[in-house]
């Protein structure tokens, strides 16, 4: 087997592989920076909660229009934003912390979703919604994913400064009257949901968050500031998509988990050898510098 047939031929030969690859690249562009900011806001697990919270909306959309990204996306968006806003409301007005209020609402939402899918659809349907089918990405889905990626990058560029300051030093932003920090927070949560929706078709509701969090967590070990972390995160996500698709093609494995596991490998490797605090550097004693 030549390198060509191993790495490139599947994409050269099959249109569905090319579409899947482009979809992964577009996802990476949106999810990379969003994931990094989510992580820096210490909301990694909330991203996970959100990806489950969108299930009932996505399920309803799926039952009405089948595996149509617009219907599922819209439903998911409504469900996700309701959960985000409800838990935000509870957090701000009661003594319950954000993680607890999120957990409460996303569990309700998730169980509703499973209930809807299992009473109205078949098990195959449930698998579609939960795991996605990246190899069946059509033009409409591709355009949606690309559109969402462009939108996320544009919006992030607009609110980048207050968003970063708000997670670094929220008190400062409030004190200088840098706008209501909570508005940026809400806009950002909407971006998270929108990107999760983009990930549906490719990876399913269960794993859409993976392409957001794994590359972001890996990037922490390679870069020192926010924008370079976002760049690394995009790179890792793209690479995971490419290699994951190849693995799934050659070994005849489901593509979603293959992509996720590739990203997982990148994450573990980063923890071990990453230049910024990777474990291996701790055990490779180099002589200390002059004081």
């Amino acid at each position: 087997m030549t390198l060509w047939s191993l790495l490139v031929a599947p994409f050269a030969d099959f249109a569905f592989m090319r579409r899947a690859l482009v979809a992964c690249f577009a996802l990476a562009l949106g999810c990379g920076p969003v994931g990094v900011l989510l992580m820096l806001r210490r909301m990694s697990l909330i991203g996970d909660a959100m990806s489950h919270a969108v299930l009932p909306g996505a399920a309803i959309g799926f039952l009405i229009a089948g595996l149509n990204i617009w219907a599922m996306g819209l439903g998911g968006l409504v469900a996700g934003i309701s959960v985000a806003l409800l838990s935000g409301l509870v957090t701000r007005n009661t003594s319950l912390r954000e993680d607890a209020s999120f957990a409460g609402f996303y569990l309700i939402s998730l169980s509703l979703g499973v209930l809807i899918v299992s009473t109205k659809g078949s098990n195959v349907d449930l698998l579609h919604v939960l795991f996605g089918t990246i190899l069946a990405v059509d033009d409409a889905a591709l355009l949606t994913v690309a559109g969402i990626a462009s939108l996320s990058i544009a919006v992030l560029a607009l609110i980048y400064r207050p968003l970063v300051v708000e997670c670094f030093d929220p008190g400062f932003l409030r004190a200088v009257g840098g706008g209501a920090g909570s508005i940026f927070h809400v806009v950002f949560l909407v971006l998270v949901v929108v990107n999760l929706v983009a990930g549906f078709q490719a990876l399913g509701t269960l794993m859409a968050v993976g392409l957001m969090m794994l590359p972001a967590a890996a990037s922490r070990f390679w870069a020192r500031d926010v924008w370079s972390m976002a760049a690394v995160s995009i790179g890792v996500a793209m690479l995971s998509g490419w290699i994951g698709l190849l693995v799934s093609y050659h070994r005849d494995l489901p593509s979603g988990p293959a992509i996720m596991i590739t990203a997982g490998v990148a994450y573990v490797v980063s923890i071990v050898v990453g230049r910024e605090g990777g474990i291996i550097w701790r055990y490779m004693p180099r002589r200390h510098l002059e004081a």
Partner: protein
């Protein structure tokens, strides 16, 4: 500097409560423009609460704080360090550059002249050449200097400092006190929450002694008497779970 806006800060009958228990209780006081005041009192006396109310971060349960025609940008505020994520991947230069917020806001670029100001501010606090260091690599004293550099850039007429010298070594404290002295000389209003009474006596002409209620307010030597300090300690230790509702008539009587 020439554009410093001057106005007294007036606190009138201010009550701020957490869960209905007042942290600041019917406090009335006034900070003249250009004054240098230390806010002292035992733990839980409502010092931080008072400062936050002046900044506008807390809503009074009763009474009001009036800052004249001062805008948000005219009031610089240094919170206690716990509020800041020190592991955040950001450089010293970018942290200090936040002090330009009133000038650049969300969208405007931070160009060469503003970058130069950052470098100047860093050298003013004794951190020349630290621009590209990540803040996670600084000691807490160095980080406090960074925050003072940011305050320098904010160039505000009113500066509020909440326990600025906690866990800071003597040398750094002295440098930062000098900086505060410089601000005082420039006729800025400075209010600092402090614990070290000797420091207050040496460097702060005015003092406000707080124990949820106002104990004393005025020139430092008149305020920090043994009797006042004892009264403050007694008052702050009082906490009743079943406290009655505070009735205005009773207070006036």
């Amino acid at each position: 500097m020439a554009g410093l806006r001057l106005a007294p800060i007036e606190v009138r009958d201010l009550t701020v409560a957490y869960d209905r228990h007042p942290a600041v209780h019917h406090v009335t006081c006034r900070f003249e423009p250009g004054s240098l005041t230390a806010v002292v009192g035992p733990n839980g006396a409502g010092k931080s609460t008072l400062i936050k109310s002046i900044v506008g971060l807390l809503r009074p349960a009763e009474g009001r704080v009036s800052v004249g025609d001062l805008k948000r940008r005219d009031i610089a505020y240094l919170p206690q360090q716990a509020d800041i994520d020190r592991s955040f991947p950001i450089t010293v230069a970018d942290t200090v550059a936040l002090g330009h917020w009133a000038r650049v806001g969300i969208f405007r670029a931070i160009g060469r002249p503003l970058r130069d100001k950052v470098a100047e501010a860093l050298s003013a606090v004794g951190l020349e050449g630290f621009e590209q260091r990540p803040i996670g690599s600084l000691s807490s004293g160095q980080f406090q200097r960074v925050l003072f550099a940011r305050l320098l850039l904010q160039d505000a007429g009113v500066i509020l400092l909440d326990e600025p010298f906690n866990a800071i070594d003597a040398r750094t404290t002295q440098d930062l006190l000098d900086l505060i002295g410089r601000w005082h000389g420039e006729k800025r209003t400075v209010i600092a929450v402090l614990h070290d009474m000797d420091q207050v006596r040496q460097h702060f002409p005015d003092t406000l002694l707080l124990a949820r209620e106002l104990v004393a307010n005025g020139p430092t030597p008149d305020c920090l008497t043994a009797a006042n300090l004892l009264a403050a300690r007694r008052m702050s230790e009082r906490w009743q779970d079943d406290a009655a509702v505070c009735a205005p008539e009773k207070r006036r009587a």
